[in-house]
Every structure is written in structure tokens, then in C-alpha cells.
Symmetry: C2
Subunit: 204 residues, 2 copies
Amino acid sequence: MAPKLKLIYVDAKALAEPLRFLFAYGNYQYEDYRITHEDFRSDKSRFPYNKIPNLEIDGKLVHQSMAMARYFAKQVGLAGDSIEEELLIDTAVDTLADYRHQLITYFYDTNEESRKRKKEQAFQIFLPFYLGRLEQQVKDNNGYLVNGKLTWADIVLAGVQDYVNYMAGYDLLKDYPALKALEQKVLGIPSIKAWVAKRPDTEM
Amino acid sequence: MAPKLKLIYVDAKALAEPLRFLFAYGNYQYEDYRITHEDFRSDKSRFPYNKIPNLEIDGKLVHQSMAMARYFAKQVGLAGDSIEEELLIDTAVDTLADYRHQLITYFYDTNEESRKRKKEQAFQIFLPFYLGRLEQQVKDNNGYLVNGKLTWADIVLAGVQDYVNYMAGYDLLKDYPALKALEQKVLGIPSIKAWVAKRPDTEM
């Protein structure tokens, strides 16, 4: 019997959306449970390491969004066909995390002065660097991040891009045609397209 | 034939040491190539995404230390026996990265004021929190991070602890007996013990 799945997150795409894409892709039934920020903050200690997103798998709580995404990617056949390919996919996923982190570290900084400094660094140095390199990587891999075929690294890229764009304040991929095409290719997968069409409309 | 391996990093344990532990554990032959910081900074663009550690596997460069560690962990039998166990290991590894990151974000901040603020947050909030939770996790798992048996998550914990302690300025595990015992257990594995006894003496 398929395990009972309950995804727990705030009412946002953000770090949970790659998982939701994978659930759509694999046609998984799950409860998409959304709590308010207030509810999350009121008792974080319910969650392993006080972190969300969380997933209840048959009542057992797990966390770490990328570890969970890898777990489901294995189940739906998007995690690579050899340990060499898995290495390249994991590397791409960690590089996407580095890229995302450049925005997160600026966006959530509460100190005005250091926030301004980080924003400059992110927009002038890190984002052009990462986007340029990722663009080249996708060109070198026939339109995908790894080995010219769809993997969960591509799902992560497309799944978190709305969140990354929200933090940036504009569509970061607009001047990167290979990355843009890859994002659109993922968003065009019928099961994912159907999810995106019906998902709750959220700010990020 | 075994692939030709060349690990490229600065003259430090830091993020490369878990890989060196795995190489020792699996009795891999590799070139432990150490460049100066000046050499690294003079032309970072030699490396994928300007990052080290890097590994040449039969001449092909790969990066991302945790992705590489997972790849070799699979080869030496420390990556879990089921996708459920792999999920728990990956989650522990990402949690260790979060814990480490609390120190990295303070330690490398060049702004005096924000560095001070981050240091306070790290030492007063994040480190006690993570170390307390990790201590409990090890107690709950019979002396290991996952399922009461040695996995590459334990190798990562013990491998980067010197680096983490260096940034903290003292042995962070000294008041956490289960974590300390786990670190010592890993350091007591004969192949790893032999490597630690002969490795270059470095600051971090």
C-alpha cells in the first residue's frame, strides 16, 4: 500500500514546491497541509530541528527539502541511472542551493546596512556568475542540467524559481534563454502543468 | 581498473577531510594535491563554479564536497541499505551543513559589526540548539546519527569537526558526550586512525 503522505509547510511555493512537482510527476496522493506563519512560529519545536517543510510519511516526520526530493526522485525515476550520474545530479542540486543561498542571505537579513551590502554583492557578483555558469551548463547538456535528460535537478530548478524570482524582484531567467527554456520545459510536463494550473495562488 | 583520483584543495582539512576519511576507509589511492590560497585566488575559474575542493576523476573535474562524499560512500558501503535509510542519512548530512553554516557565516564575515552580531547568534542560539538536538539524535540511534550503524553522515561529522572547532575557537563537542564518543569512534577506525596519524599538520 502506498504510504500516507502529509506535506507540512507555510502557504507558499518556496522550498516545498520541488516536492510538490515531484508528487505531481509521480502521481502521488498527499495532503498539502499549509500552516500560517504565526502557527509555525508559535511552536517550532514540533518539527525536527525546528524546520519546515516537513513530511509525514506514515506518521513519521522527516525534513530537509532536498533530501526528501532526492528520496522521491529515486521513486519516480529522476535520480540517475548510475552512481556517476547521481554524482552529477547531486552536484547540480547543491550548486542550485548555493545560487539560491545568495538571495536568501540578503533577503532575510534584518540589518539594513548589511542587507544593502549583501544585495549589491548578490546582484553585481554572485547572480550574474551563477546564472552565466548554469546557462552554459544547460547549453553543454542539450537543454538539461545533467547528461541531456530530465532529472530531479531540473525539477528543483523550475520548482524554486518562483521563490528565487520573488526574492530578486524580477524574473532572473529572462536573459538566459537556455535556463528559461529548461524551466518552461519542466512547467510543460502535463502532470506538473496540471498542478501549477490548480495550485493555490501564493506570493512566493 | 580503479580510476585515477586527484583531490585538489588548499592545505587544510576543512571541507575536504570527509573525503579523505572516505578514501582512507575504502583504501583508495589518490593524489592529495594542495595548492596555496594565493594560487587558488589567482585563477579560480579553472574550477567548476570557482569552487574547491575539486576532484579529478580520470581527468574530469567534479566539485561539491558533499555530493562527492555521497558518491564514494556508495562505493564503500556507507550510504545506506534502502532508500528510506538513504533519506535519513541525507537529512543528517544536510543538518550538519546547517550547523556548520552557522559558524561559516560568522567566521568569514568581513564586516566587524555584523560579524559580532552573527557570532553572538551562533554561540548563544544556533550552536547550543544544533548540538543539543544532534546529541539527542545520536543517543536515540545507539551512538550513531542514523539507525545505530556507521554511515557517511558520521564520517562527515568527524571529518569536519576540526574545521568547525577551529572557527569556534574551542572543542564544541566537549560537553556533548554522545557526539564526542561518536567522533572518537570514527577516529578510532584503523584506516582513518592511520590517515590522521600521518596527515599534514594544518591549522584548520
